[in-house]
């Protein structure tokens, strides 16, 4: 008998990728290989990928073509920084305390997600951040992408018991950069700890960016994930938060500004496994031209997780007739003493408000810009870090002047 071997889309993609130079245990390699070997790219039939098609990944050419980034790279002047250039940790930076970039062997974290497994096999940088004290130190990771490359960072963020920390994940791509960014981030928030992550995805217009965050929260902890997809051809974020301890607070905020033919997909899951917790999610964005946006927010409240307050909201404004939004909030509640709400809206800017502002002398453009800023302002107000907030304000302004 002759076995018919069909090539999967992953097989084709892998011919373009360079296996990781990092040391992986045999067990982890075997596991990751098995997952990728038995998978193919998700299709419409896969519920979680219904509206997002990644086939374009196989059209990318990692030719190393270089183009500089014309805009300021850094968001925070007050933070310690680690630079990752085209997927590689910049030299001479491995000595920063609390930041680990060299490994005897890659940590054993993994999931059954095929892109996570792919990230293991082709990892370009593994970085661990540790927060040990209550000083709320800020660390900015600057991912500078100037060549068309495969960028596979694997991040481990540990906020230990009672510690406080802020992380800025700053992805910056040259204007037309065509990279494949594939990031897995494992986050552990210890008891009484408080961690905030601000993720800015300002990718080149041809870049695919697939990211996953796996978060575990211990009792009495606070975790905030702020996600800002600003540009890129396709951006997909999977945020999964397990709230494992009592009295936790969880905040998820997102703001996006889409134009051209860009596609953005935010999938979030917060899993309330235990009682007495609070979670609040607010994602808002504007969609222009032929851009498409997908939002899927799941809130689970497990059987014994009483006294949970969980709020979720997604609001979209279409700035063109050709933009598309698919928004699906999902609540699954198995406990009876809970307070949950969710809502999703998609609309246009208020014509009456535009007319009112124009009648006072504002141009149509200035009027729309003011209204969009006001709309997204509700999310920006949630951003505690001033430097991140003012960066985002400037980006929104720029989005309209372009």
């Amino acid at each position: 008998m002759e076995e018919v071997l069909t090539q999967t889309k992953f097989d084709i993609l892998r011919t373009e990728l360079r296996p990781t130079a990092l040391k992986i245990s045999d067990a982890l390699r075997a596991k990751a290989s098995e997952i990728v070997n038995s998978s193919d790219f998700p299709t419409r039939k896969n519920e979680a990928w219904k509206y997002t098609n990644v086939n374009g990944l196989n059209k990318l050419v990692f030719d190393g073509k270089n183009a500089p980034i014309s805009e300021p790279l850094i968001i925070s002047n007050r933070s310690r920084k680690l630079f990752v250039k085209n997927g590689q940790v910049s030299e001479g930076q491995s000595m920063l305390s609390g930041i680990k970039t060299s490994w005897d062997v890659l940590p054993e974290f993994y999931t059954d997600d095929a892109f996570d497994a792919l990230n293991v096999l082709y990892c370009t940088a593994a970085i661990q951040l540790n927060f040990d004290n209550a000083e709320n130190e800020t660390i900015e990771l600057v991912f500078e992408n100037t060549t068309n490359s495969a960028i596979f960072p694997r991040l481990f963020i540990q906020c230990n018991k009672g510690a406080k920390g802020t992380v800025i994940l700053n992805f910056q791509g040259a204007e037309k950069n065509a990279s494949f960014i594939n990031v897995s981030t494992y986050v552990n928030v210890g008891e009484n700890a408080n961690l905030s992550i601000h993720k800015i995805q300002k990718n080149g217009t041809e870049t695919f960016d697939l990211q996953r965050e796996y978060v575990d929260q211990a009792a009495n902890s606070t975790f905030t994930m702020n996600t800002f997809p600003l540009s890129g051809k396709l951006t997909r974020n999977d945020l999964k938060i397990n709230v494992n301890g009592n009295n936790c607070e969880t905040f998820m905020n997102g703001a996006y500004t889409l134009k051209g033919k860009s596609h953005c997909d935010n999938h979030t899951t917060v899993d309330h496994k235990v009682a007495h917790c609070y979670s609040k999610e607010l994602y808002k964005g504007v969609i222009d031209d032929r851009a498409t946006n997908v939002f899927n927010g799941k809130v689970f409240v497990r059987k014994d997780a009483q006294k949970i307050n969980a709020f979720q909201s997604n609001a979209n404004i279409l700035l063109s007739d050709t933009g598309t939004v698919n928004s699906k909030p999902e609540l699954e509640i198995y406990a009876d003493d809970v307070k949950c709400s969710h809502g999703s809206t998609t609309g246009q800017l208020d014509d009456e408000a535009i007319f009112y502002l124009r009648s006072r002398g504002l141009s149509e453009k200035a009027a729309k810009e003011l209204l969009v800023k006001a709309f997204l302002g509700e999310v920006l107000e949630e951003v505690q870090n001033e430097e991140v907030r003012s960066y985002l304000e400037a980006q929104i302004e720029k989005h309209f002047s372009a």
Partner: protein, 251 residues
Amino acid sequence: MIEIKNLHANIEGKEILKGLTLTVNAGEVHAIMGPNGAGKSTLASILAGREEYEITKGEVTFEGADLLELSTEERAHLGLFLAFQYPVEIPGVSNVNFLRTAINETRDAKGEDPISAKEFMAMVREKSKIVELDSKLASRSVNEGFSGGEKKRNEIFQMAMLNPKLAVLDETDSGLDIDALRIVAKGVNTLKSADNASIVITHYQRLLDYIVPDFVHVLHDGKIVKTGNKDLALELEEKGYDWIKEETQVG
């Protein structure tokens, strides 16, 4: 200042203005009165450039320009101001911030430098006093959560900030108690000069006790059917609009 000639306008295929003619000169206050549905707000909206209306005939000259050819914001830059009958609430947009943008865009259109922060804040303080508008309200989101009276006072505050050549006040008095009415009227009177003019649209005579008009026009069925001095307003108050309607039909 403004010359409206034989203006005809439709909305959704229905003719609302049917040959309206009106001239307003600098230094004058004109009152336009008329029953509900006469077309008063339609006139105000068309002057401000609302796009839903189809102008089928007539012309409007404002400060020497063909008004109907200009965008809403260009009209504002030339000095036209509309106080809305129903001011719009705009959550998240600060009143003073947007006014500053408005002033600067107008200055820019005239080739002038932007207003300094200091000068602007001094102006906010001075002008909000005229309409007794709490400076906290002045800096809140545009009209959000304002009472009816506060909204109307905010319109006059904005007018004071923008210092227009021609102000069109569309039923700024409706829904106001006597105190608010007095404040609004005081604002309008304070801003009056030999170089500017106003068109005061109202349904009732009572506003005209405070803002004394040079001319009173009756708008009925899309046309100005009668013009007189302030006594005409009193006559209308006494007799209602029916005699006008009858007179027009006979005529």
